[in-house]
Symmetry: D2
């Protein structure tokens, strides 16, 4: 019977497997393992195809240790358009300006941390003093920027050219990879802009980004998106397809722990996105329900292995 | 021993209990029931106190049937400041302009839905045709608005005065309850603004809202926040306390299915927020891990019962 | 169009609503609220029909404060067959023998608790001393029981007749409601049996229960099941239908936070159960994804209100 | 400051990394990645130490493709005691007797599947006909076994000696690795035992296993446990420590998607287990919140790489 064509192949796990060899074994299996293997196949196809590659980055991925992965993906041409949260950019800037995140614990006394001026992000600790440096540096950058009308993307490029290339925001500026951050006011960058604009001008238009973003979508040949978490980055990338005549993304991968049953966009399935035309009817689309700090490094290691092979 | 002061009281559930009577029984219990009862106590105290009341509304709560609850809370003075997503405002406008959401099913054939021009939001169906009406009406509103520099909040108030009071955006305008929506570009309102600004001017500044929002925070006496879901609304409300000298929210309630372990802000505990000074050391703060479409109506019914009583 | 027949009715929440009035308002809504309202309709229909009523009770529901709800459901004829975990029975016996559970906190220092001999169950504290009483009492009961071959159900009935009627196990014995607990060895009852059988005989057969349980299934007219959590109780109830000619349960309600994507039986959908014939093709079946300590009291309060009405 | 000793090291992901090299990079990171790296360190230490190694296997891991991993772990001495569910043993026997599981889809029409006699386990399909073979074979085995009093473990060993070594149950019998399955009646093995015992004798005692299991615990020097999922296997392994004078497990690793907030044992933290004395005060214990079909293969590949190295 047609439904019984592909027997589950029990995984064979040995010492010294490469990451791609591991994921290949998962390819015969089901549940999360099977989905991760499928995600890798989709990712490889998306990267080999003539695809405009969108990357949606939500969650506290920079504090968690995923910053260099993103930097390298941009540097090596795996990302054409980055959409992210203010928080990831804030923490990126904190590190490029000399700060560090620290391995802490999730079972902490938060009031004691407060008194020691340590901010907690699950099991990551961040000295509050880093924000003083951040504030000073960012206000300097704001002061140096021409206050002419600009989009959020343009503001981020301006910042990017004023920080080292060993940062997401810096490498993106140098590689002409646009960073979109629709909710930038919802971050410590926004709070500094508030301070700055009490005495200076800084004209950043809320909707201006959409012209550039929609142009990218219109001019794309094939389109693919990798979503780490949901939130604004996921929705902003997907909604573009409602008004473009593309018929939806051709490739879509979602790495998330969010669940569909609450009805929120973050946990929505990529099938649901097909009903809106955000993901194409014929698209290759897969969601992996597991911690993205585990699945993203696997995908990246394995796809690099595959692409390097030929 | 001090740790063994409060025995669990087994819930006594009878016919014809009022919602507050039900939650009172939960007050002797543990796990989610105990937390919901505690949330009600915090909500009551927050409403009786001289509190500036923030409401963070994420998730697809309007399609799910929570719209009238929010309208009534605004109308009756339970909300002083609303922070929400573009999606909730879009769906609010769809209904005030004559559209409807429909009870569908989450196990649908999304490609068939696509062909029938029905958009799915988990188990809610929305005819795509509603967006044509939405587009026409919103472009009319944009055309009627003076294109002078404004904030997102001001834009929403302008829209609010042009729609019926039987909507979130309409009642908020009439009751002078500001609506903040930092990620408004990430919504169909944003997409219409993109269309509009291809031929017209509309100057909405990204950071201007922060001045008004921070003024509200500075001028507040006591502060309380009810969060339905996480996302931008939660972070935007909480981050204000980093730069105000208040020492954090005095009351905070979070209704969510998100979990802390992924490290994202949506699932972060309110204890974690204390390490940042976003929630006060002495604050009354509680998270209820359950579907907000169930817990919010319970909280609202029960707190109305309590407040009406005296 | 057929898919657009039932508009979402925005919930109208007022003071002094009864629980059934609240759930009725949820009946016009979607997501969890809509499912809870549907679950109530199914529960009411199942109770009014000529149904053999199975109740699957997993999770630490007794420590959480749901014990009296279960006792009253048995006393009032809402449960014909109870399948549960050893843990729920252990905690039931702890209370009937004078012990208490206590409201604690989930952010505790567990090593300090260990030193104070306090056992933690999420935010419930249990003095370890209660287990000494439990041990003594249970060994007395074991000593009084005739060591003839018996099933687990028969052992539990023997215990039930030797404890007060103000317990799950006691009321079930008096009302002739059989309690099945296939994994009883996996509990402190099992550990006491281990102690007892070092010096005494106690012959409890692993498979004997199945004869009685399958007879109940064969003799049932219509069948319904309410599952609180998943685990062994859910599977044990459902698997019976694989070998009975009934074609699956006629009614099924599942209250759980578990998710389908991990592939485990606890989170499996009731649709999946239809592929096995465990739930009938025409069955009324609904899953509510929310904390059962919140949803079970709601269902019970509302269904009692409905049944009392006529 | 002591809390700020260990900076997050941003992961460096390259092509052709081995699995252990990947996890080592995760070792500098936080959230799930950091926990997985810590789990690997604990697993390595546990395997190198003079440890009695318990393995708790819940969830539908055999249908998902993890069967050979378990077989090889037993064959190579990585597991001393296996505690599992009836379902995993049933699906193991289905495969050793010539059946297969198939890759299907989780968005299936379950009523159509029912009519085609295909059972669904999330995205795995199983032809119902396999159960006819299973039934015939198992009844033959039951008929061949001496009906003397035995424990569940002894029954499973009897079965194991009658099936091929290319199965969990077969290899365990040959390697003298005891399999405990307290809830065996809650499985299709139980249903066959019900059929068999309608006409034959089969005396399997519910509590007899505990003597052997507790002896293993008493005689152990150091103890370690790896839990895949929760359920009965997790509780059964942990509860042994309540009555042994060991002071709890020395090593514990938990791979799960369950969450603590519902209060159930499956999602309970290993810290909570310390308050009971189930996990030792000084134990190395870590929980990884991610799909076990992804994390278990990673752990196994990486630990094999490490152990082979020296």
């Amino acid at each position: 019977m047609d439904k019984l064509r592909r027997p589950v192949k029990q995984m064979d796990i040995r010492a010294k497997m490469t990451v791609d060899e591991l994921v290949k074994e998962m390819g015969g299996a089901a549940f999360g393992a099977g989905r991760l293997a499928e995600a890798l196949d989709v990712y490889e196809a998306m990267l080999r195809d003539d695809t405009t590659k969108f990357f949606g980055l939500a969650g506290a991925m920079v504090p968690a240790g995923m910053r260099k992965i993103i930097i390298d993906l941009i540097a090596d041409g795996y990302i054409d358009v980055l959409v992210t949260t203010g928080a990831n950019l804030v923490h990126d800037l904190i590190e490029v300006w000399g700060g560090h995140h620290y391995r802490g614990t999730s079972v902490a006394d938060d009031i004691e941390l407060r008194r020691q001026q340590i901010n907690r992000i699950f099991d990551v600790f961040l000295p509050e003093g880093h924000f003083s440096t951040f504030e000073k540096k960012l206000l300097d950058v704001f002061a140096a920027i021409d206050a002419k009308d600009m989009s959020i993307r343009e503001l981020l490029t301006e910042i990017g050219h004023r920080v080292g290339a060993d940062s997401i925001i810096g490498v993106a500026a140098r590689k002409n990879v646009p960073i979109f951050c629709p909710a930038i006011a919802d971050s410590v960058i926004g709070l500094q802009a508030w301070l700055h604009t009490q005495t200076h001008k800084l004209n950043v238009d809320t909707f201006k980004d959409l012209h550039e973003f929609m142009d990218i979508c219109y001019n794309a040949n094939r389109t693919g998106a990798l979503f780490v978490g949901g939130g604004v980055p996921k929705n902003f990338i997907l909604q573009s397809m409602i008004v473009t005549p593309k018929g939806g993304f051709d490739y879509a991968i979602q790495l998330t722990m969010d669940r569909p049953e609450t009805g929120g966009l973050s946990g929505a399935t990529l099938d649901e996105a097909k009903s809106w035309g955000k993901v194409g009817e014929e698209a290759r689309a897969v969601t992996v329900y597991a911690d993205a700090t585990i699945t993203l490094p696997i995908l990246v290691a394995a796809v690099r292995e595959r692409l390097e092979r030929k």
